[in-house]
């Protein structure tokens, strides 16, 4: 079954309380961070804590993602050595600029999997693109490894690289579209960047509406409070669901009569319309199956 990735909750890897409780807020994915939210003198303890948490705590159906440090820093390899052995669902590579970055990381993951007796290829990856160079290489990055389940925009570093700042989203328009098209062309997910003004719920919702309209699968969040409004925006309305069901019924009826095209209330229903309706229903089904979990 497809993994929902409407929300990816950032959790600083050196905060035991948050690491322990991360799964209670209902995000689709949890991203334990060993990189930017962890100061240099906390890197070892964060790595140790996240390793222990992944090994001993249950996170239910939540996808467990770990953001490692850049491999060029020397910390990244230490992170991989520990974390891959704790079998996370996904390793998130920061500051990806080229396909080679992904390939280099994948080689190390494969080696560690093999050493640890873990099925080689079972650890998925995602790549965060956080620079102009990365954005221009987005497609190459997206197709660089079978392990990749998605690519994500990291806007803070990106706007700095562009010599601008974050505002209403105009500055991210090109990057978002590049990343989205690269992801779609590669058949993987596109995850939008964080919205850091956590007290501005209105601004957050506006941004969510924008990225949903563009076609993103979801968004990273830095505070659990952002999860309910995010999910609400991504949840199809009852009206949309009824419409989707009617479309599928109409096309089924047409198919039975040997036609690939149907019409509903005077509108033509062809394959793209059917695919959209199917996706909508799948999303709703996944979303409704989330809240109550075996603990």
């Amino acid at each position: 079954m497809k993994q929902l990735r409407r929300s990816m909750l950032f959790v600083p890897g050196n905060n035991p309380g948050m690491v322990r409780d991360a799964y209670i807020y209902g995000s689709d994915s949890i991203m334990f961070d060993l990189e930017d939210s962890v100061s240099i003198n906390e890197k070892d303890s964060a790595r140790f804590l996240v390793y222990q948490a992944l090994s001993s705590l249950r996170y239910g159906k939540k996808e467990r993602v770990v953001r490692i440090n850049d491999l060029t820093t020397g910390l990244g390899i230490k992170d991989l050595e520990a974390i891959v052995r704790a079998k996370p669902d996904v390793i998130r590579l920061p500051k990806t600029e080229t396909a080679q970055d992904v390939i280099d990381c994948e080689r190390e993951i494969a080696r560690i999997e093999s050493e640890a007796g873990i099925e080689v290829g079972s650890t998925h990856m995602m790549a965060a693109i956080e620079s102009a160079r990365g954005v221009l290489n987005a497609y190459d990055i997206a197709v660089s490894s079978k392990r990749l389940i998605g690519i994500a925009l990291g806007a803070e570093d990106y706007v700095t690289d562009l010599k601008t700042t974050r505002s209403d989203g105009t500055e991210l328009f090109f990057a978002r579209n590049m990343i989205l098209n690269a992801a779609r062309a590669a058949g993987i997910d596109a995850i939008d960047t964080v919205y850091s003004d956590i007290n501005n719920e209105e601004g957050f919702i506006a941004e969510v509406r924008l990225i949903k309209k563009l076609g993103f699968d979801g968004k990273s969040v830095i505070n659990p409070r952002q999860i309910p409004p995010l999910h609400k925006e991504f949840m199809p309305s009852e009206k949309d669901l009824q419409k989707a069901k009617a479309i599928l019924a109409a096309i089924a009826e047409a198919n039975a009569k040997g036609s690939g095209v149907a019409s509903l209330k005077g509108k033509m229903i062809d394959k793209p319309v059917v695919i959209r309706a199917e996706r909508l229903l799948e999303l709703a089904q996944l979303a409704y199956s989330m809240p109550v979990e075996e603990i």
Binding site: I24, Y25, L57, N223, R225, V292
Partner: protein, 513 residues
Amino acid sequence: MDKLEYERVIEMKKVSAPRGNFNGTSAKETETFFERMHSKNRVLPSLKDAIIKSGLKDGMTISFHHHFRNGDHIINYVMDVIAEMGIKDLTIAASSLTDIHAPLIEHIKNGVVTHIETSGLRGELADAISHGLMESPITFRSHGGRAAAIESGELHIDVAFLGAPSCDPYGNANGYSRDDDNATMCGSLGYARLDAMYADTTIILTDHLVRFPNAPFAIPESNVDYVVFVDSIGDPKGLMSGATRYTKNPKELLIAKTAADVIEASGYFYDGFSMQMGSGGASLATARFIREKMEAKNIHCRFALGGITGQIVEMHEAGLIDRILDVQSFDLIAANSLKNNRYHIQINASYYASYLNRGAAVNQLDFVILSALEIDTEFNVNVLTGSDGVIRGAIGGHPDTAEGASMSVVVCPLTRGRIPTVVKKVNTVVTPGRVVDVVVTDQGIAVNPNRPDLYKKFQDAGLPLFTIEQLEERAERIVGTPEPIKYKDRIVGVVLYRDNTVIDTIHQVDDDE
């Protein structure tokens, strides 16, 4: 009328006039009431004078209220004066004690205080008592239990020392002042009112003496013997820490949202319902989510009870709550509302929660939101002792409201740091599981098996339900099994249920190696 005529009157058996024939009046007082207020009043020059006049002796019981919370100056001041006068072997019967009362330790060591009755203890005093400071165990009573004990005579108060933010020269006292907005204020004097009514002698200490009549008054002069003017009754900062604020803690918000969903699904959320909420982070946040649901469904609350916060006042002022019954004001907004809002009513501790009071307001509650330090798989709740066995809390109205309300909801995180909240057995039973209906944690809800009706409703609403055992196992899996606390044989506290029967005891903690 002559004597013979009076004898004829008393022979008419149905006319009751046993006090004899009219014998003239005493001389009329002709000064202005304003002059009289200065010449003939109950104000004494010093607290020492008042204590002497009260006849306070060794072995007696004195009482205090806790409306000034952690800003209280009264208890420490009064005890210093009493100690200086050489009076010993006293019982302190306070409605509650807190961190600021650490100086009592010295008075206990010196034999001035030999017994304490209270709703709670915190800080250094609590720590010392848990380590065996006192010969006699503390009597812990709920707010309703204390009121009942005072009414029944089980708790007899010889002298009540009651701080009041305003008082006139005859003793009409209140928790705010209409004569001067700058006075210290605490809002309701709900606990003090009963003490004044039943104590043999009542002494009001005030920093704000106003002209007669200090109306409206919480404590009428008919219940007051002496008034003492003091420089300070309390520190406004500790007394009223501004508005109790909404939490931004995502875990508390999650608990609160779930609690509001529970209430909505319970059948007790209807147009005209009644409620009580605590002042803890999750309780306060629950009020916010309840408010959203009330507005969305266009329903209102007939009355809110209890310790009152600014959040309740805001809902009242927005027309969502008809009446507020206030036994204790938790913040400045609540205190100001009591002063200014016509339908924000002050009630006393007996009317609030005494099982002997046939009108106890807790019995009219649809639901109450309560907190817990620990709750066990029998649903027993501890709000008194910490995970180390040391006293660090207060019973308050916990058992009173849990029993009185049609649905009691305990909100708590599953674990606090490395300490589990849902446990196999609580250290101290304060509220018996029989009266606790629902537990809401950040990791799911458990319903008391006594309430299959609620379970069904929550199930139909799709709420995340678990058994209390499942929650306990989950907590244990996260933080492990704590080592049992080591206690000594000596009893340092006796916990009474709201009917003043003994529900549990607290033992001295054993820190010895």
